[in-house]
Amino acid sequence: MSALGWVLPALPMAAGGLLALGGRRADRPAPAVAVAVAAVTTALAVAAAVLRPSVRAPMLAGLPVGMAVDGLSAVLVVTVAAVALAVLVFAAGEMPPSGRFFGLMLVFAAAMLVTVTATDLLLLLMAWEVMGAMSYALIGFWWHESARVRAADTAFLTTRTGDLGLYLAAGAAFAGAGTLSLDGLEGAAGAWPHVVAVGLLAAALGKSAQLPFSFWLSRAMAGPSPVSALLHSATMVAAGAYLLLRTQPLLAATGWAAPVAAWTGAVTALLLGAVALAQTDLKQLLAASTSAQLGFMVLAAGTGAVAGGTAHLVAHAAVKSLLFLVAGAWLAALGTKDLNGLHGAARRYPFVGAMFTAGALSLAGMPPLALWVTKDTVLAAALRTSWPLYAVGLAAAVLAAVYAAKAMLIVWLPATGDAPARSVSPLEKVPLPPLALAAAGLGLVGVFWTPWHRLVGGPSEPPPELRGLAASAVLVLMTFSWAVRRYVRGSLRPAVMTGPRWASSAAADWLHLERAVSAVLVRPVLALAAALARFDDRVVDGAVRAVAATTLRAVSPAARRVEAGLDGAVHAVSAAGLRTAAFSVRRAEDPLASVVRGVGAAARRLGRLARRPQTGQVHIYYFQAVVLLFALAVVLVLLR
C-alpha cells in the first residue's frame, strides 16, 4: 500500500533521471522506455486513485514530509499520468530519440505527481521547484539557440519569483502552526494565515501564469511542442490552480484572499482572452488561452467551486494537450505555426484536423462539450459570489468562443501554399483520439455531479444549473457563429482585433507585461547590480585600500614632522628640500593617485621615511638619542 505511494512518483522520477543523465547511450531506447514508464505510471496512478495510498517520511526536525492520494489528488494523478502518457506517445513519433528530452519529460511529470500528492508545504515546494527547473530545461531544450535559452530563463525566473511565496508561506506556516501540513493552514495563530495566503497566492499566480505573471507562458512556447502540450495542460500551469483549489479553505478563511484570487482569475480570463484573440501564431494563441482558461480555475478556487474548478482543470488538460499536440504535429509537418501559414492545414490532414476541431469547439465552450459544462459550474459559483464577477467571467467565455472560432476557422480555410512536406506519423496520431474523446466527453461530470463532488471534496456546491448552461450555450453559439461569419466574410487577416490601436498592440504584445517587468524590475536590478559591483570594487574594497593608505599617510607626515624637526636642528633644511617634501606630500595626498599606487608603494615610502633617521652618521645618532632621552626624561618628570 505505502509502496504504491512511493513508487508512483519515484518510478518516472528515477527512470527520467537515468535517461536524462545517461548521455548518448540512453538516446536510442529513450522513447520506448519513456512510453513504457509512462504507461506503467498511468496504471499506478489509477491504482493509487483507487487504493488511496498515504506515506510519510521524516525530513527536517519535526517537519516530516508525506504524500497521500485523496479525491482531488486521485483525479489529478490520473490526469497527469494520462496526459503525460499521451504526450510521450506523441513525442515518440515527433521528436528525435533523445534521452535528455524523454528523461526530463518524465521527471517533469513525476514532479507534478509529487506536487499533487504532497501533504505538506515542504514536499510540495520541492516538487514545485523541480517542476520549474524541468520546465526550464525543456523550454530551453534547443539550447544552442540563444533566444530559446533566454525564453527558458524568463520562464523559470518568473515562476521562481512566484515560488518565493511558497518559501514565505512555509516559514509563516511553521511560525504560526509549527507544522507545514497543508491541512489546517487556516488554523495557524495570529496574522500568520494571512502571510501564508500571500505566499500561496504569489506562488500559484506565478505558476499558473495569471496576471501579472502571464508573459512567461508566451516565452515558454520556445520549447518543443510536446513540452508545450504537457506544460500547458496537466503539469506546471495546472499546479498553481491545483494549489489554490487545495488550499481553498485557507483562502476563504482569510477573508480577502478568496476575492483576490477570484478577481485575478476573472480578469486574467478576460484580458488574456483578448490577448489570445490578437495573436498571429497558433501556439501563442493557445498559450494565451491557457492563461485565460486557468483564470477560470483560479476564479473557481476563489469562489469555493473546488469541484467545478477541478473538473475544468481536467477537461482543460485534455483539450489543451490535444490542441498543442496537433499544433506540434502541424509545426513539424508544415514547418510553421504562424496562423497565415496554417491555412488549410485541417484540409490537408483531415484526421488531425478533425481532432483539432473537437478540441477547439470544446475550448470555445460549445455545448455539449466538456468545457461548456465545467466552465459553467465555475461561472455559477461566481454568480453566487457576486454578479460583476460573473459578468467578467461570462465576457471571458465569450472571448474564448471567438478565439477558438478563429483558430478553428483558419485551419479549415482553403490552403494557399504548396503541398505538405511531411506526413503525420501514426505515433503522433495515436494519442489524439483519446484526448479528443476526453475533451468532448468530460462534460459528463455535469451529469454525474454528486459523485464527482463527493470524489473531489470541497465546500458544498450545487450541480451546474440548467439556466446558466443554457444561457452560456446560447451566448457562445451566437458569438461563435458571429465570429465564423465575420472571419469567413471579412478580410482574412488572422489577427482580427477590433478596438483602438493601443489596445490591439497591447493585446498582441501580451499586454506589454514583459516589457513592463523588464523596465520596472529586471533592468533596474541589473543596473543596481552593476552599480553595486562598481561600488564594491571602488568603495568597499576601495575603503579598505583607502584605510590602509590613509593610515600610512596619516603616519607619514607625523613621521616626517618628527624627522624634519630633528633634521632641522641638525642641518639647516634647504629650501629646495622643503619644496620637494611639500610636493611629495601633496602628491601623497592626492587620493586617487595614492590608491592607485597602492598600499605597497605607500608602505615603501613610509619605510624610507622611517629610515631617514638612520643617516649612518654617529653624531646624528647621538644627537637624536640624546634629544629623545632628554625629552622623555622631562616629560616623565613633569607629568607625574
Binding site: A569, V627, F630, A633
Partner: protein, 184 residues
C-alpha cells in the same frame, strides 16, 4: 677653608672641561681634561675619600699618558702644530647641553634631597674594602672579568699581527717574524 677649596676646585674642574673643547690642539685638550680630573680627584679628598681621590688622580695621569702616546702614534696634528676646529652642529650641541644643564641645575635646587643618614666611618677606605669584600663582592668579581674581556677585545681590535703572523700557522717558528723590533 674647605668651602673655598671646594669652589676653587669646582671652578677648575669645569673650566678644565670647557677648555677641552675650547683649545685648538688635541694635546692641550688632553691636559685640560687632566686638569679637570685632578680637580675632581681633589674634591673627593674634601669629602673624606682619600683613596678614591688618589685613584682618580693616578688613573687619569696614566690614562693621559696613554692618550698622549696614542696621539703621537696615530693622530694628525698631535702637538697642535696646526690649529684645529673639528666640530659639527655646534649650535645644536650647545643648545642641548645648555638645556640639559638647565634642567639638571633646576633639579638640583628644586629637589628636596633626602637628609643625611649616619656618618662616615672612621676609615672610609677600610669601609670601601669591607664593602668590596662583602655585599659588593659581585661587583668586583665582575669588574675583573670585564677587565679580562676588555684586554682580549682591545687586543683583537687593535693589533694587526697575531701569534700566527709571528710564529706561523702551526706556531712552530722558533723566532717571531716581526717587521720591526718588538712592535706588536
Amino acid at each position: 677653608m674647605d668651602v673655598v677649596a671646594f669652589w676653587v676646585l669646582a671652578a677648575g674642574a669645569v673650566a678644565g672641561g670647557i677648555a677641552v673643547f675650547a683649545v685648538d690642539s688635541m694635546a692641550r685638550a688632553t691636559f685640560a681634561l687632566l686638569v679637570s680630573f685632578l680637580c675632581v680627584g681633589a674634591e673627593l679628598l674634601l669629602v673624606d675619600l682619600p683613596y678614591l681621590g688618589l685613584l682618580v688622580v693616578l688613573m687619569m695621569i696614566m690614562e693621559m699618558l696613554v692618550m698622549a702616546v696614542f696621539m703621537v702614534m696615530y693622530m694628525m696634528n698631535p702637538a697642535g702644530l696646526m690649529p684645529m676646529a673639528m666640530v659639527h652642529n655646534r649650535r645644536g650641541a650647545a643648545a642641548v647641553s645648555a638645556a640639559v644643564f638647565a634642567a639638571l641645575a633646576a633639579g638640583v635646587f628644586l629637589t628636596p634631597w633626602p637628609p643625611r643618614r649616619g656618618a662616615p666611618a672612621g676609615d672610609t677606605t677600610f669601609a670601601l674594602g669591607e664593602a668590596v669584600m662583602g655585599p659588593k663582592m659581585a661587583v668586583m668579581m665582575l669588574v675583573g672579568v670585564a677587565i679580562l674581556a676588555t684586554m682580549i677585545s682591545s687586543v683583537v681590535l687593535a693589533t694587526r699581527r697575531g701569534r700566527y703572523d709571528r710564529y706561523g700557522d702551526r706556531l712552530d717558528a722558533r723566532r717571531p717574524a716581526d717587521p720591526g723590533r718588538g712592535a706588536p
